[in-house]
């Protein structure tokens, strides 16, 4: 099998990754990062209905009754044609169930023929949201730290700390890509975000470890004379078909889930599956094109400084 020269083309890969991350940053600056009410607090209510409702008018009615700024949206589920009225309270402060009752009664009185039926609501206090968000982010970073320690220990034969560090760089890369997907598609960050990031971290670290494992093995097989560059390129090439097949399998599964969620308009799943689709590709890519070459550069640099000292 011909060894693919990943290391030689490393700057192309780095450039591609930078572009993706920059796109995310630009979109974040232009559109801002939206936090879901789960994290920043607020209220949203949904009602199913038939016929026509002027959502702007509905928004004004609720605003008058409640004395809080409100806007209403109309949502249609593609598969069933089910119409939904979404009532968004602009305030970060959540509303009480008593206020919710008021909204329901205002709307049913205003539109008696629309068969309005309460479907779902979510109301979160800012403090609860902040706590939840903090825990999620803490979980992500704590996982990073522990992975670094574990990888560092298990791969001490190939320079544990550097290997662990590069694995984390790849993880950050994937976490950024997933975040960028949320920002570009304007999906508010919610608990799907935390779940998606964690899932991608899981897959990506696994990918990276498979390749490190091959490097560890090849280091013994190929002898100490082999250059790091050759060692890494060979290892990546050998595990290439595995990386591609596994990721295709995962990608296909997630895509099926996404298509169903899209057709039936299941938001929580949609918000999870779409970033996952991008994340899977990114996880595979970051391992092959980022972690490997970066680690090689580190090792080469280490070798050079050692030579100088000698």
């Amino acid at each position: 099998m011909k060894t693919i020269q990943f290391f030689k083309k490393r700057y192309i890969y780095f450039a591609i990754s930078l572009c993706i991350i920059l796109t995310g940053v630009v979109f974040a600056l232009v559109n801002g990062i939206k936090l879901d009410i789960q994290f920043q607090g607020g209220s949203v209510l949904k009602y199913t209905y038939v016929g026509e409702i002027d959502s702007e008018q509905a928004g004004n009615l609720v605003e008058d009754a409640l004395g809080k700024p409100t806007n209403c949206l109309e949502q249609v589920t593609q598969a069933t044609g089910q119409k939904m009225l979404v009532v968004n309270l602009a305030d970060y402060e959540s509303i009480t169930s008593q206020e919710q009752e008021l909204i329901t009664s205002t709307l049913t009185k205003a539109y008696p023929d629309a068969g309005l039926e309460f479907s779902t609501s979510q109301s979160v206090q800012p403090s609860t949201g902040a706590r939840f968000f903090k825990n999620g982010i803490l979980a992500i970073f704590l996982s990073f730290g522990l992975i670094l320690v574990y990888v560092g220990y298990r791969f001490r034969k190939i320079g544990g700390f550097s290997a662990g560090f590069m694995a984390i760089v790849a993880l950050f890369h994937d976490a950024f890509v997933v975040t960028a997907v949320f920002i570009v598609f304007q999906i508010p960050l919610n608990d799907s975000f935390i779940a998606a990031v964690l899932t991608i971290i899981g897959f990506s670290i696994n990918d990276t470890i498979v390749i490190y494992d091959r490097i560890r093995e090849n280091k013994t097989l190929m002898g100490p004379k082999t250059s790091t560059e050759e060692l890494v390129d060979t290892s990546i090439t050998q595990s290439m078909s595995r990386s591609i097949i596994t990721n295709i399998a995962v990608f296909v599964s997630i895509t099926v889930v996404y298509i169903f969620a899209q057709i039936y308009n299941i938001e929580s799943i949609k918000d999870f599956a779409l970033p996952m689709m991008f994340g899977t590709v990114s996880g595979c890519y970051s391992t092959i094109c980022i972690a490997g070459p970066l680690w090689t550069m580190w090792k080469n640099h280490e070798a050079k400084t050692k030579l100088k000292r000698a």
């Binding site: 959540s94 009480t96 169930s97 919710q100 009752e101 329901t104 309460f118 479907s119 779902t120 609501s121 979510q122 109301s123 979160v124 206090q125 825990n135 999620g136 803490l138 979980a139 704590l142 996982s143 522990l146 992975i147 574990y150 990888v151 799907s192 935390i194 779940a195 998606a196 964690l198 899932t199 971290i201 899981g202 897959f203 670290i205 696994n206 470890i209 498979v210 494992d213 091959r214 093995e217 595990s239 078909s241 595995r242 097949i245 596994t246 295709i248 399998a249 995962v250 296909v252 599964s253 997630i254 099926v256 889930v257 298509i259 169903f260 969620a261 039936y264 299941i266 929580s268 999870f272």
Partner: protein
């Protein structure tokens, strides 16, 4: 070896059967309210500028539970969160309850309790605010469990009059419209210290004391954090996800079969075993499965596919390097093990972090992931190794192309 294969196949399918027999069990699986529909509300004291005490929260919890009893909501989860001074309530919204108004239910549950003591004619003789304190205790005389009531001064006067009038008759204690106790008056009580005797055990006594205390709870509870999901919305999401999951699983299996042939078949069986085990790990301890939990299942299936892919690729490689089938299989598993092991351990680390730190959705994600990865060790590594090894003992199954080797030879 043949026997072991048969046994393992049987276990795998039997496991599947347990799964489908337990499909009732699987439908009895506890789903989070995001799946089956329901209400999750966090109650905090209204207009209270201090943190509520543990006793007050306990009383508030009792009020909510008593009211839920009255509404016949038995499948519920009411917990006190002392650090945040709140009471968290979760209960399902069943699809046959078309008239159920969850918003109203949440409001009503939090209202101040109206505690009344009534004489047999239904006249109110004492109210909740007349009781200054109530607690469970043990009788000095016979060691039985009792509930002690300390009354306020006005309460003592009212109670003295009432007990004087009602000796050997019953005084019924109501919370809202629910009867919580109807003790018989033995003697007139003049000093404002009443005792309700004959409590079954300490828990009953404590419960009654908390209920009586709730009458003097100085605040009502409001739910600022609330999550309501209609059952139709939830069930639809679940059915669609199960369908999507089945299709995705079938596609992955077809792909594995096509690409790796015999090891692919084994991989499919191993994956099935893994998923069945994972579902059992959820349904047996009645762990609540939420949508992020399903994400955890997806991730661990992905890990399972990966373990099998790594092994199958390795076997292919070893065959290509000219090894015999037997040693190729052994070497394949042996070489693949360290990478599968390290990959799984890191994911276990992540899942444990989630279980420790996370509440609600993150916890659910972490738990399903942990179970999945452990099952992956059992099914993806141990069971598939045994299966491939013993299947390869059959003469007709020893052709290299069955292991995907022909591709490399070409």
């Amino acid at each position: 070896m043949v026997l072991i294969t048969a046994a393992l196949m049987y276990v795998a399918f039997f496991g599947l059967h347990v799964g489908s027999l337990d499909l009732k069990g699987a439908s009895e699986m506890r789903y989070g309210i995001d799946i089956r529909g329901g209400v999750e509300a966090t109650y905090t004291p209204k207009d209270l500028n201090r943190s509520p005490t543990a006793d007050e929260l306990e009383s508030a919890k009792t009020i909510i539970e008593t009211r839920m009893d009255a509404e016949n909501i038995t499948d519920r989860d009411v917990t006190v969160d002392e650090t945040n001074g709140s009471v968290i309530v979760k209960f399902p919204w069943k699809s046959d309850e078309a008239d159920f108004d969850p918003q109203q239910a949440i409001s009503e549950l939090g209202e101040t309790a109206l505690l009344t003591f009534k004489d047999p004619d239904g006249n109110v003789v004492l109210e909740g605010e007349d009781v200054s304190k109530s607690y469970a205790s043990i009788s000095q005389e016979d060691g039985s469990y009792i509930v002690v009531l300390e009354l306020t001064d006005t309460g003592a006067t009212k109670f003295s009059e009432a007990t004087g009038r009602l000796v050997k008759q019953k005084i019924s204690i109501y919370m809202d419209d629910t009867l919580i106790s109807d003790p018989t008056v033995n003697d007139q009580i003049t000093d404002g210290n009443a005792i309700i005797t004959n409590q079954k055990d300490l828990a009953t006594a404590k419960d009654l004391a908390a209920k009586i205390n709730s009458g003097s709870l100085p605040f009502s509870m409001i739910a600022n954090d609330a999550n309501i999901i209609s059952p139709t919305l939830g069930t639809d999401a679940l059915n669609i996800m199960v369908l999507a999951g089945k299709i995705a699983f079938a596609l992955v299996c077809l792909f594995m079969l096509f690409y790796y042939r015999l090891p692919g078949l084994v991989a499919c069986i191993a994956l099935l075993l893994q998923v069945v085990g994972q579902l059992l790990a959820l349904s047996i301890p009645q762990f609540t499965l939420t949508l992020p939990g399903i994400a955890g299942v997806i991730l661990s299936i992905g890990m399972g596919v990966d373990a099998n892919v790594i092994v199958s690729e390795r076997i292919k490689e070893e065959l290509a390097s000219g090894k015999t089938l037997r040693s190729a299989i052994d070497a394949g598993f042996h070489r693949a093990f360290s990478s599968v092991f390290d990959g799984n351990i890191t994911v276990i680390i992540v899942s444990i972090v989630l279980i420790v730190l996370g509440s609600g959705s993150l916890l659910s994600f972490g738990y399903t992931l942990l179970c999945g990865v452990i099952m992956n060790f059992v099914a993806g590594v141990t069971a598939s190794r045994l299966m491939i090894r013993s299947l390869s003992e059959f003469k007709p199954l020893q052709k290299p192309y069955l292991y995907g080797a022909r591709r490399i030879a070409e």
